[in-house]
Amino acid sequence: MNELRARIVKLPLYKKVCLAILALYLVIAIFAPAIMPYAASDFSHRRLAPPGRAHLLGTNELGHDIFSLLINGFRITISLALVAGFATTTLGTALAFISVYFGGLIDDTLHFIANLFLMVPELVVIMFVAVFAAPTLSNTVIAIVLFSWVRVYKIVRAKLLDCLKKDRVIYTLSLKGNFLDVARVLAPDVLPIWGSFFVIQCNRAVMYETTLSFFGIGDPLAKTWGKLIKSAMDYSNLYYDNVFLWYLLPPVLVVLGFVICLALLVTQEE
């Protein structure tokens, strides 16, 4: 714990700011039900009310309180990001381990598949799978996880191969041990990469979900930030009377803040 604190203190200022903002996001997500003035499913309000005391960000054309939807979006989007980020990074790392440990045909096959995936825009494939599958939030996560592990795999695999070369003796000895032993020996080298990829993949998951939502893909009932943006953009009179200021802009800014803070957190220090 002390070590963690020491590392945080050493970070440059902008990273501390990012960390603080992300912590705030997390707090909002955890306490979302307490913060939301109305239930997310409650559409009994006056429609298209401008911002006021009763509705901080007004209401939408269906009579939802936009502020409540936004806060609810924290909970849904951030859990999606964490789950997808964790699963993608773990899958990529696990496949890289398998690739390096078994080598030969298994390595060749996995590497071949990874190279093929890199040639195709992954978001198009994700979109394709998500459209064909039933529109549920978990299917969206599965689609994202299944098709974005490739970068993690490539980098971790390269790192593992490097480790084998560097300390060949130790690892050759341990290669006689079973899979888990080897994984344990290599873990200290891989953990830092795993950490930064986790952050990057959380970022990507939100990126992908926002884009999928924009294309109208995914669970229409799971009101992620992406879905809020989409429904605002679908509203035909968005640009009259500055409605976009409280309808479209808040979810956009929330997404921007989240992805940018995540991205800046993983830049290499000088």
């Binding site: 093929l116 195709v120 198009v124 799978v129 064909f132 884009t211 924009f214 893909i217 992805v259 991205a263």
Partner: protein, 320 residues
């Protein structure tokens, strides 16, 4: 030996191609419910019975799966990608019609963004006292934002609020290629999506060029060039850029794919009539054959681009 390695390269890409085709064939059939066979009526689209017959003839759901695959291959060989639910025309005509708009947007974006990004990245790398690094956070920030959001913000700000540019479409409705001022009209509609795509594509290439520059600038020939008093602009162009170019070529092949992908999202926001808008319509009307066609085309495009670049690189290393 050399001939052998070219042959291996070609064989590898044929294998990629086959796997990609297999995946595009199998994916919709693997997903539970097999939506290809869900009749369009389920989605509220009324399908005429003659179209339904064509549809059944194309997918032949009653045949064994292996025969379905061979049928799929045979149809592909005839450039037959099936019929669109929504447009009720062959998928291939739709895709080819949209493809030219996507190229009109993505090719200039690729060229301009690559040139700007190399210029920027190299300058960042050469800036004294590592000051170029201060530009990294903003670049990373842009890179982290979904392209659709950048496009949407650009559309709101420049298209709707400031009205500097036409906010959607590729030309003023009602115009045809023979109308007077058509070219200028197309250009005016192209500008905003193009600028946004360029902004979205610059960061990754610029960061790449920056890292390459940091490495090349340590080379002793760069030090000696400075000792010789060679003009710093010449050092940048002849010593740095010429030497990072081979790596940039590899990056360009990834970027050529990213640019088309980015173009899809920008088009979808601006209702630009390219593949992106087609994809958006395909997804919102659940037009599976059209989606499958677009997926296959983007696979073929990606594999093709990679093959070309790897081939060039192969030739290039032989020359060295």
């Amino acid at each position: 030996m050399r001939r052998n390695s070219v042959l291996r390269l070609i064989l590898r890409y044929i294998l990629y191609l086959l796997v990609a085709i297999l995946v595009s064939f199998a994916l919709p059939r693997l997903i539970p419910g097999n939506p290809l066979f869900l009749l369009a009526g389920d989605h509220g689209i009324d399908v005429p019975s003659n179209l339904l017959k064509q549809f059944e003839a194309y997918y032949a759901p009653d045949l064994p799966i292996v025969e379905q695959f061979f049928l799929y291959l045979r149809n592909l060989a005839k450039f037959d990608l099936g019929y669109s639910f929504y447009y009720k025309t062959p998928v291939i005509t739709r895709i080819l019609g949209a493809f030219k708009w996507t190229m009109l947007l993505s090719v200039p974006a690729l060229l301009i963004s690559t040139m700007l990004a190399i210029g920027l990245g190299v300058r960042m790398g050469l800036a004294p006292k590592g000051r170029g690094a201060s530009l990294l956070p903003p670049l990373l920030a842009i890179q982290a934002v979904p392209t659709v959001l950048i496009a949407a913000l650009g559309q709101i700000l420049l298209g709707y609020k400031l009205r500097v540019f036409p906010a959607s479409g590729a030309y003023t409705p009602g115009m045809t290629p023979h109308s007077p001022g058509y070219a200028l009209d197309v250009l005016a509609h192209l500008l905003l999506p193009l600028i946004i795509l360029i902004i979205a594509e610059i960061p990754s290439t610029a960061i790449f060029a920056y890292n390459s520059t940091l490495r090349i600038k340590q080379e002793q020939y760069v030090t000696f060039a400075k000792y010789l008093g060679i003009d710093h602009r010449d050092v940048r162009r002849e010593f740095i850029i010429k030497n990072i170019l081979p790596e940039m070529l590899g990056k360009l092949s990834i970027q050529a794919i990213m640019c088309v992908a980015g173009s899809l999202f920008v088009e979808a926001v601006f209702s630009y009539p390219g593949l992106g808008t087609l994809l958006k319509q395909a997804t919102s009307y659940r037009d599976y054959p059209l989606m499958q066609g677009i997926l296959l085309m983007s696979c073929l495009y990606g594999i093709g681009i990679n093959f070309i670049f790897e081939f060039i690189l192969h030739r290039y290393t032989r020359f060295r």
